[in-house]
């Protein structure tokens, strides 16, 4: 799973150098669209823009790889469920038939819509994670009044995920050395991974206690005013970009209300 990037990739790019709050404003914008918009065109446009931003941030290849891995199955599933059963549909128009299976046009459309919608949301978070240095993220979240424990949680989760993946790999290698079958048919493979859950989950639980102690002895619960190793300065460009997000948001809301 090492091919799948789940955290920050160090690059020298425009996107990297933006204040994390700018990217945070993009995330917020897309979250609002995700919650309220029903326009497929809009989501396709959002997807394209984020893809372009990922290339601008010099992480395009990893971005695409990760995205396909994450949303590929969602797309397929969504197309299948909606196409076959069309749970929200009213029209009976059929896109194509295959023996007794009918794929409905409406369901197919809805499946695509749902896929692009999810993909927009995942994309924007993924772009944020790949191009934002975690330490800076926490610092800037703190400047807008984010509780520091929450900031830590987000940050540590982002760092622990790749760690757990790596640990899983170590365990898989160890089990493979003892003859575990991780190749072959899908069911066989899935079956083979079940025994791995034990060591991974148990190992994680056991470490929680020690990690809690490690956090506490470093003043995690201290009531002192927190300070930061980094300073986040916010440039004029950053401010303009955040303003742009706000304006776009307002425009969207106005159109929704009028239209």
């Amino acid at each position: 799973m090492a091919f799948l990037k789940t955290n920050y990739i160090k690059k020298d790019s425009v996107i990297h150098s933006l204040n994390p709050l700018v990217k945070f404003s993009w995330v917020s914008l897309v979250v609002v669209l995700f919650l309220f918009s029903g326009s497929m065109t809009l989501f396709i446009v959002v997807n394209i823009i984020i893809l372009l931003l990922a290339f601008l941030g010099k992480v395009g290849r990893d971005f695409i790889k990760g995205l396909v891995f994450m949303i590929g199955p969602i797309f397929l599933f969504s197309l299948m469920i909606h196409g076959l059963f069309n749970p929200f549909g009213i029209s009976e128009e059929v896109l194509f038939s295959f023996y007794t299976i009918n794929i409905s046009l409406e369901g197919f459309y809805y499946g695509l819509f749902f896929g692009f919608k999810i993909s927009a949301l995942i994309s924007v978070f993924y772009l944020f994670i790949l191009t934002t240095y975690p330490g800076r993220m926490v610092t800037s979240l703190r400047t807008i009044g984010f509780p520091h424990k929450l900031g830590f949680l987000v940050n540590a989760t982002l760092q622990i995920v790749p760690l757990m993946l790596r640990e899983a790999e170590t365990i898989i290698d160890a089990q493979r050395a003892r003859g575990l079958e991780t190749k072959g048919s899908i069911t066989k493979r899935l079956g083979a991974y079940v025994p791995l859950l034990g060591p991974i989950v148990l190992g994680s639980v056991m470490k929680v206690y020690e990690r809690t102690i490690a956090l506490e002895v470093r003043g995690f619960s201290s009531t002192a005013d927190k300070t930061s190793l980094y300073v986040e300065n916010i440039t004029l460009t950053d401010k303009l970009l955040i303003a742009l997000s706000v304006v776009l948001l307002i425009i969207y809301v106005v159109f929704r209300v009028i239209g």
């Binding site: 809690t212 102690i213 002895v217 470093r218 002192a224 927190k226 190793l229």
Partner: protein
């Protein structure tokens, strides 16, 4: 000057029949290097946690009597956060001491300073000085998860040390390390002790205690069984065996020769003493 004082301290973990610390009484002076010995389950970790305030504040259990005073603070009335400016603890698994708060060693070390509100202007200086002291300054931009076990353990030590505690507790810090890592950790700890830190270390590596400790406290069943100099405790093979601890090979060698009435002096605990003793035997 006494920095640690246990007054008839009794601690009971929930779900257990017996008390886990059954009335511990002792004093530790500033600058002492104390080794803790005892079979597994004898309460060494509970003792360490009691100094740090993890017992009673984080562990599931109850104080059944007595108190622990750390540098003037009663642990039952002080938070772990308050105690952390006086005591730092390092545990066995190097990885689980990393908080994951930072991508680099430098950031991991900064975490405690950020939490306790140390101004940014001072942070840089303190991080630099502590990383130089433990010999990790060159690696400061590396990920703490991508260094050797011994180095990872040093990251843990640096992260705690940067808060400038007087007392450093190490609970089997070399359990997961190879001989090189073990040597590195012990010699660092000795250096810190020479600079004035009070050291409490749990370890099964008797040869290091023989070399470095000023005092050894032997635990069993939640009680202090014996408290004395390394010479006194490590050369008492019967005492060690009774408490399920393997004596050092050099000591056993001396003992074997003593049985044949060839060894006259005290039993050796270091190779140097053994060599000197053997010279006399050979003569």
């Amino acid at each position: 000057m006494t920095v640690i004082e246990f007054k008839d301290f009794k601690w009971h973990y929930f779900e257990r029949e017996e008390h886990d610390l059954q009335g511990v009484n002792l004093k530790i002076k500033k600058g002492e290097f104390v080794g803790l010995l005892g079979p597994s389950g004898s309460g060494k970790t509970a003792f360490c946690y009691s100094i740090m305030g993890v017992v009673p504040h984080l562990s599931q259990g109850r104080v059944k009597g007595g108190k622990v005073i750390i540098d003037g603070l009663d642990t039952q009335d002080s938070s772990i956060g308050e105690l952390s400016s006086r005591v730092g603890i390092i545990m066995q698994s190097p990885k689980s001491q990393l908080t994951g708060a930072g991508l680099t060693i430098e950031e991991e070390v900064a975490f405690g300073l950020e939490n306790t509100g140390v101004p940014r202007s001072e942070m840089g200086k303190r991080i630099k000085s502590v990383l130089k002291r433990v010999g990790l300054y060159e690696l400061r931009k590396r990920s703490p998860f991508e260094v050797s076990g011994g180095q990872m353990q040093k990251v843990g030590i640096a992260s705690v040390l940067v808060l400038e505690p007087k007392i450093l507790i190490l609970d089997e810090p070399t359990g997961y390390l190879d001989p090189g890592g073990t040597e590195a950790v012990f010699s660092l700890v000795k250096k810190l002790n020479n600079q004035g830190k009070t050291i409490i270390i749990v370890t099964h590596k008797l040869e290091y205690l023989a070399r470095y400790a000023d005092r050894i406290i032997l635990f069993n069943n939640g009680r202090v069984v014996r408290d004395g100099s390394p010479q006194e405790i490590l050369s008492d093979t019967k005492l060690l065996k009774r408490n399920k601890i393997d004596p050092l090979p050099v000591t056993l060698l001396g003992e074997a020769l003593k049985k044949k009435r060839k060894w006259k002096q005290e039993l050796p605990i270091t190779v140097k003493e053994a060599v000197e003793g053997l010279r006399k035997v050979v003569k």
